[in-house]
């Protein structure tokens, strides 16, 4: 160990002085440097001097890095952060001093580690860019876009320069865009309306699910008008371009012809405008209003129906005549059904024929006449089917169907047969034909059936009214006859009393009033004369009594009474009566006996008065159930229907009333010049009498 030289105090003081001086110089130098009085430092480095300018040209680049909007950092190959700018520190919400000197892996989310490793591993020429996420101190994840460049620094050949772009805002924007797109798609898919988006040329670029369903195929890429051939209410074709140019773009009513059924669509058109207010295309909303439209149509049809029914009701009320009513109904039916020709026929029960009561539109009247159909005629076929089923028959293609010859001859292509019903009773048919092929919708059929029913009820009421009026007329005639008969009887009685009994009694009075002469002979003669007069008066009285009510009928029964009456009738009228009877022994109910007696009495009187014959036959028979009477002559004869109808035949009417009251039947067969036959059957009911009215 070398021995340290011992210095003197003077030496030490000198040295101290020197050191103080050098210290002062050093401190002054440091002060000058620290206070910024120098602008460059000269540093010795391996024998050469380097000049470090304190504010050099690199300051500009440094400032650029420090203030730029991206995060910038330098790394060693191991990930040690050698440099980071403030922007990067802000991304990590961490003080800058905690970042420089730390490793990058501390700040990268575990899932992104492999991305960073991959970026750092790539070759020099390859693009080193990728997206990864950082973990900030507050725990949030920061998505970044990282670009990596290899950097060769002095002493650290394997280092990297990184630029990180914060993607948070962009991600948010992207998310907003995605959300907007999702919303738009959701609207398009969920909307009940058909929504279609078109570009400026009118081609469809988006379409909602409902729009797809509406056109049945994918409408995308096609022109709007080609996919949706819409018709405006005025019949013009809907044009998207015209609508876009016009002011009226909202709630345009259109019609779309579909397969079999037309759709009604409400169209609204809106402009699709870009950020610079330029038109990009259009958004079209198609709302299906078919159901509303149909309901509206249905309501209108119902209204019309009610109106027609009201008018029909008025017509029926106003007219008491079936022909007028039928004409009115037919006119309405033709108007509502838009048919060319029609006929209403009613069933005549007596002749069993279907007779036209109203017709319209026949080109050849012969065809209508041929329409008088007999129910039993097989050729009537289809027409009568509705009588069997009491249902409407529709034939939309007459040409293809058998039968219906007459309608075919009239050029009818489609026809409908409506039953005329009154409480399930078929009264006739309403037949309508169209010369052009057509369909009959259920509404119309319903309405026509209602017309048929109304007419049926009207016909039935009308017939009942006619029958009631006829019955009333007959009743009036009967009561007049009763009064007349009574008067005649009284007159006859009065004359008989006056002429016969009265004169006899006068004769008796005169006979007895002559002053009594003397002599028995005279008295005897007078007594004998009086006796004869009284005898004659008794005969007259008995005859009179018989004619009023034959006591014989009550006392002895029908056969003796009739025998007496026939005899008396022949004596009185000189008409020979061939009286035949069979099984008439015994008695019948009193009302049967008197009815039979009076009918024969009346019929014989009629023969005597009107038949102009001298012979008549009366036959009577009886069995367990009935008493039969037949009167016939070969006389003048008459028209029974006319006689009964004009109420002059009160005698016949009286007979009929009497028979009807017992539930029997009366048949008069007669015609002028052929004689007359009256047949009566009176039921002999044991126990309770069955009453049946004669039709």
């Amino acid at each position: 160990m070398p021995k340290k030289p011992v210095r003197t105090q003077k030496q030490l003081l000198t040295e101290n002085e020197d050191l103080r001086g050098r210290l002062a110089e050093a401190e002054e130098t440091l002060r000058a440097i620290r206070s910024g009085e120098v602008d460059a430092l000269i540093v010795s480095d391996a024998g050469s001097e380097q000049v470090f300018r304190l504010k050099g040209a690199d300051r500009v680049y440094r400032m650029l890095i420090e203030d730029m909007n991206e995060g910038a950092l330098t790394l060693t190959a191991e990930g040690l952060i050698l440099y980071a700018n403030r922007r990067f520190a802000e991304m990590l919400t961490t003080p800058l001093e905690k970042i420089i000197g730390s490793t990058i892996h501390t700040w990268i989310v575990p899932d992104s580690h492999w991305i960073l490793q991959a970026l750092l591993r790539k070759g020099g020429d390859q693009k080193r860019r990728g997206e990864l996420a950082l973990t900030a101190s507050d725990g949030t994840q920061v998505p970044i876009y990282l670009s990596v460049n290899r950097l060769s620094m002095e002493g650290l050949p394997n280092s990297f320069c990184l630029v990180a772009t914060n993607l948070t805002e962009q991600k948010k924007r992207n998310e907003a865009i995605v959300a907007a797109e999702t919303l738009a798609r959701l609207i398009l898919e969920q909307a009940a309306e058909a929504i279609v988006v078109c570009d400026e040329t009118g081609r469809i670029i988006r379409a909602s699910r409902a729009a797809h369903a509406l056109c049945g195929e994918s409408p995308l890429g096609q022109a709007f008008e080609r996919v949706f051939r819409l018709q405006r209410t005025d019949g013009a074709a809907f044009s998207l371009a015209e609508t876009m140019n016009s002011g009226d773009r909202q709630r345009i009513e259109t019609r779309l012809e579909g397969d079999g059924q037309a759709l009604y669509l409400l169209v609204s058109v809106g402009s699709l405008v870009g950020t610079r207010n330029e038109t990009l295309g259009s958004v079209i909303t198609l709302t299906d209003i078919t159901a509303n439209k149909l309901a509206e149509d249905g309501l209108r049809a119902k209204n019309r129906e009610l109106q027609i029914l009201h008018e029909i009701g008025q017509a029926i009320l106003a007219s008491g005549n079936i022909q007028h009513m039928a004409a009115s109904i037919l006119e309405k039916a033709l108007a509502v059904s838009l048919c060319d020709l029609g006929v209403i026929r009613l069933l005549d029960r007596t002749s069993r024929t279907l007779d036209p009561v109203a017709s319209h539109g026949y080109l050849n009247p012969k065809n209508l006449r041929r329409h008088r159909k007999h129910l039993d005629d097989r050729t009537t076929g289809r027409l009568l089917r509705i009588f069997a089923r009491k249902e409407t028959v529709v034939s939309e293609r007459v040409q293809d169907e058998p039968g219906l010859r007459i309608f075919r001859r009239e050029g009818v292509q489609s026809l409908i047969l409506i039953p005329v019903l009154a409480e399930h009773d078929m009264l006739g048919a309403l037949q309508l034909g169209s010369r052009t092929p057509r369909k009959f919708d259920p509404h119309l059929i319903n309405l026509l059936e209602t017309l048929g029913n109304n007419f049926g009820i009207a016909v039935q009421k009308n017939r009942l009214l006619e029958e009631t009026l006829a019955s009333q007329a007959q009743l009036r005639a009967l009561s007049r006859r009763l009064v007349k008969t009574q008067e005649t009887e009284r007159h006859h009685l009065a004359r008989e009393l006056h002429d016969e009994i009265g004169s006899l009694l006068t004769g008796l009075k005169l006979t007895l009033g002559v002053p009594a002469g003397s002599g028995t002979d005279r008295i005897d003669a007078r007594t004998a004369a009086a006796h004869a007069i009284i005898e004659e008066a008794l005969v007259k009285t008995r005859s009179l009594s018989h004619s009023l009510r034959p006591p014989m009928l009550d006392d002895l029964g029908l056969l003796p009474a009739l025998s007496w009456h026939v005899k008396e009738f022949t004596g009185r009228t000189n008409v020979q009566v061939n009286f035949q009877h069979h099984d008439l022994q015994g008695r019948f109910p009193a009302e049967v006996e008197i009815t039979a007696y009076r009918i024969i009495q009346e019929a014989l009187t009629n023969i005597a008065r009107h038949a102009l014959v001298h012979e008549a036959t009366v036959r009577l028979w009886a069995d367990q159930s009935a008493l039969g009477i037949e009167l016939s002559d070969r006389g003048a004869g008459f028209d029974p229907t006319a006689t009964l109808a004009n109420t002059s035949g009160v005698g016949l009417l009286g007979m009929r009333e009497r028979v009807a009251s017992l539930g029997g039947s009366l048949t008069i067969t007669s015609a002028p010049g052929t004689g007359t036959s009256v047949t009566v059957e009176l039921p002999l009911a044991t126990g309770e009498k069955t009453v049946r009215s004669e039709q």
Binding site: L30, I33, R34, R62, E66, T74, T76, L80, L82, Y83, N85, R86, P95, L96, E97, K98, I100, G101, M153, E154, G155, L156, S159
Partner: protein
């Protein structure tokens, strides 16, 4: 003292309680951007800390270009400068810290190493 600093100090104190035998080091390195000396200094001190002080050190690297205000009162005249704040005494080492022996001596880590 800011809240954050207070929190850091509290954590340091807690750490010192958990492992009383191991001294806790708080180091601060002042650099200027990415100059070669600064870059080397970071790399060297990081390597040294990881090797000798792993788990019980705190290192702050201050870029005086970006945070000049943090140099106030610290008597920094050149960069890189490493200051050992804890454990006492306070110590400064200027340079790129490439002389590991000197640094370890300065940090009083010789015996340990």
């Amino acid at each position: 003292m800011t809240k954050k600093k207070l929190r850091d100090a509290t954590q340091a104190f807690k750490r010192s309680l958990v492992s009383p035998l191991e001294k806790h080091f708080v180091l601060r390195l002042y650099i200027t951007g990415t100059t070669p000396q600064s870059v080397r200094a970071i790399a060297n001190i990081k390597k040294l800390c990881e090797e000798h002080l792993k788990g019980h050190y705190e290192l702050e690297v201050i870029d005086l270009y970006q945070q000049p205000q943090l140099a106030q009162g610290e008597q920094i005249i050149a960069t890189p400068t490493l200051i050992k704040l804890l454990p006492p005494p306070l110590l400064r080492i200027i340079g790129d810290l490439s002389n590991t022996e000197c640094v370890l001596a300065g940090l009083d880590l010789r015996q340990k190493a």
